[in-house]
Point group: C2
Chain length 454, copies 2
């Protein structure tokens, strides 16, 4: 898909230039350079910097940019930067944020600062903020902004245009549609900005509006919202409550963040990591986080060792078993992780459910069986050539077939089971899988050897 040798060029060039200025340039050059970037670019830069340089650069960021930058860095870094900031700086950073962003931001602030921010707001803004805060962060209600422009169906285009012209600084970015509501703020439909430009001024909004595009319910999950935006190529969409009252709107920029996080979540979770971790977190903090995962893995590794221990007498008699047994485990682990990855991704995309899970498991079992037979023959020949022992070859071949079929079954069912019990399908799937492929691999190989060989 993408040519990786050139893909990061632009971003890395910037990182490089910045790094040079950081080392050799004057403070003034650095300040100009940093504040000439977009907030998300500053955030990206901060994430790329080791901690002490990060603190230094952060001090140079203009106070009126700091709020937006804080929203764009990952959770880990935001928490850390907020801790370093004075109350007055935090208040300054919160000013000028949009309501949806402020709702995310305020929850990370110390309680006292949060109270101050709320007090400094006007009644209407506070009311709006409270409405967004009443929904969880990962729902449409938590993602929405309250900057909608509404019109009535009996307004003419002319009236709307005059209204917009009077309040001209107030058309928010990413406004591609105005929303049509009745007198009690119930959502009726939407009208394209381009229609206002091109249609006759005397036409009533009601005649032009598109009532087909349903509003998003505030309770919809953020991943569902993202799927909707992706599949319908939306730039913005209205959000309503149970009574169909218009609460606000969601824009594509917030949806892109969800898509990015979601796709990275699978990648990071499979290694027991979080997408919100700071690459340059202090060594102690990183060690502690990763230790947990290593501890879980140790327990499963001990289980595998215990299985091997059951056959110590067998191994003592035929040391070739110890030499070959990692091959059986390793082939099972790789085959299983392929199935696991496919299923985790399919589930994240909402493409695997009760109606097709059975079919997928059967297909994966068939692939496992075929690849098992293929590699059983290859490994059997290698074993026979190496140790001049036909029976050993047959036994390792049989163990590989059994382990690859088990791996397919485990890889396909583990995420489904994890989801059923309410856990994250991506988290821990890999560790459970290798436990199974190790245990079954060692058990069948050594067990068959104990029965038939020694």
């Amino acid at each position: 898909m993408s040519d990786t040798t050139q893909q990061e060029n632009q971003l890395q060039d910037r990182l490089q230039t910045f790094s040079t200025v950081l080392q050799r340039g004057t403070l003034q050059q650095l300040r100009l350079m940093v504040n000439g970037l977009y907030p998300a670019e500053i955030a990206h830069l901060l994430e790329s910097l080791p901690r002490e340089k990060r603190t230094f650069v952060w001090e140079l960021v203009d106070p009126d940019l700091q709020g937006d930058v804080l929203l764009d860095v990952n959770d880990d870094i935001r928490e850390n930067l907020i801790q370093q900031m004075e109350t007055s700086e935090l208040l300054a950073a919160s000013e000028g944020l949009e309501v949806d962003d402020l709702a995310d931001f305020i929850q990370d602030l110390p309680d006292t600062v949060m109270q101050l921010v709320l007090q400094s707001m006007g009644t209407q803004d506070r009311h709006r903020l409270e409405r967004v805060l009443s929904y969880p962060e990962d729902t449409a209600g938590g993602m929405m902004n309250t900057d909608t422009i509404t019109v009535r169906p009996n307004n003419t285009i002319d009236v709307v245009l005059r209204y917009l012209r009077r309040s001209r600084t107030d058309i928010p970015v990413m406004t591609d549609y105005l929303y049509v509501v009745d007198r009690r703020n119930h959502y009726l439909g939407r009208i394209a900005l381009t229609d206002l430009l091109t249609r006759e001024p005397g036409i009533q909004i009601g005649e032009l509006m598109d009532p087909e595009q349903h509003a998003i319910h505030a309770d919809m999950s953020d991943t569902d919202v993202a799927a909707l935006f992706e599949q319908r190529d939306l730039v913005s969409a209205p959000v309503v409550n149970d009574e169909n009252e218009l609460l606000g709107r969601i824009t594509i920029d917030d949806v892109v963040d969800v898509i990015r996080d979601e796709a990275e979540h699978s990648l990071m979770s499979m290694a027991g990591l979080s997408e919100e971790d700071d690459m340059f977190a202090p060594v102690i903090a990183s060690t502690r986080r990763r230790a947990l995962w290593l501890g879980v893995n140790l327990i499963t590794a001990l289980l595998a060792s215990w299985v091997i221990g059951l056959f110590d007498a067998t191994i003592e008699k035929l040391v070739a078993l110890a030499i070959l047994m990692p091959i059986v485990a390793s082939m099972g682990g790789i085959a299983g992780s392929q199935t696991l990855t496919i299923v985790i991704r399919g589930m994240a995309l909402g493409q695997i459910g009760g109606s097709n899970a059975g079919r997928l498991i059967i297909k994966e079992l068939a692939v496992g069986m075929l690849n098992g037979m293929l590699w059983a023959v290859v490994v059997a020949f290698v074993a026979i050539a190496w140790f001049q022992d036909y029976q050993l070859g047959i036994i390792i071949g049989a163990a590989i077939i059994i382990n690859l079929v088990t791996a397919a079954l485990a890889g396909a069912t583990i995420p489904l089971v994890l989801k059923k019990i309410g856990a994250d399908p991506a988290l821990g799937g890999g560790v459970v899988l290798t436990t199974i492929t190790d245990v079954i691999g060692f058990m069948t190989f050594l067990g068959l050897a104990a029965l038939f060989l020694v």
Copy 2:
């Protein structure tokens, strides 16, 4: 971040409903249901269906939707569906596609059909298509559409509005800015649609336009384009050539596809898979694809076995070594894969380059050393308790420290080296890593035992 137990509800509900209709409903119900969906929704559905159901549903899709659906399914399925289609169906599907989409589509068609499509186009459209086709698919030039609306700096708002009103069906979706060009089509700046709505009709475009937003060069890679859109919250952006001539524009919907593909690419590549694979590909095709990866893994597993084989006499004397050795390898594998995942993701985001790679490697080594010491103590105690052998405990502890430090070094440097030699940093990193942690793990543990214990 997201609550996975509920996150796929909406998509899965639809899949479920659809599945029920597929089994029990009439053909007419099914046809209505399918063609009531957006093209991307039909594509999503097709990807979720086993092959024979997919072919059946595909036959029901309206011919004028088929082109857009084909663009949204993954490469594997597109190829397969195109093979099943008649020339006349393919011609019908290509009609009504936008130029950027047609450029993607036409490259998958058989040569004879491609010629027919080109012949059926008007000269101007063919000329536009050829312009898009002259850039690689993964560059701004290949992503762009040619549906730009351009204005001149000396036009007044009034003139522009009259022009738009006359050609009212022609404002393309996701038009948030018009582009300002000189008489020779050189890009000068952009003007917001909302400005046209709210500013005085007599003002000249030149006074209002934003010359700061630079156009994207047609050679920019798609990932750089995506980063730009993400960081600057763009909905659309102009594309120019070396001479600063306006060629077309890129819209956020195409960028979202790049972001999604890119994030999934890391996940799938690490397991030796491709994000374009069909979940329900035929068993033989899937077996063949995955066999390659298993073959690579077998070679590395044999290398590890060969290392164990060097110490067969040692193992024969002390079978506890065979029982414990997978623990050393496994802990190294997990620790290394955590570092590897962090580095691969950081590189995909363009956050790791020459200026901070050194710092990151040092940090990862420190984390590896600390976790190595922590788990060395734990595993040593377990080994001593199990086998009543103090020396064995010390040796396995030492091997774990060495292997976790090696794992950190390997995990951090493998993707950087892969990139340097022009390979995909995500592809194969996992296999190379486990080879290293297995070989080093077995080598140090068995080697130390051979030296000091037996």
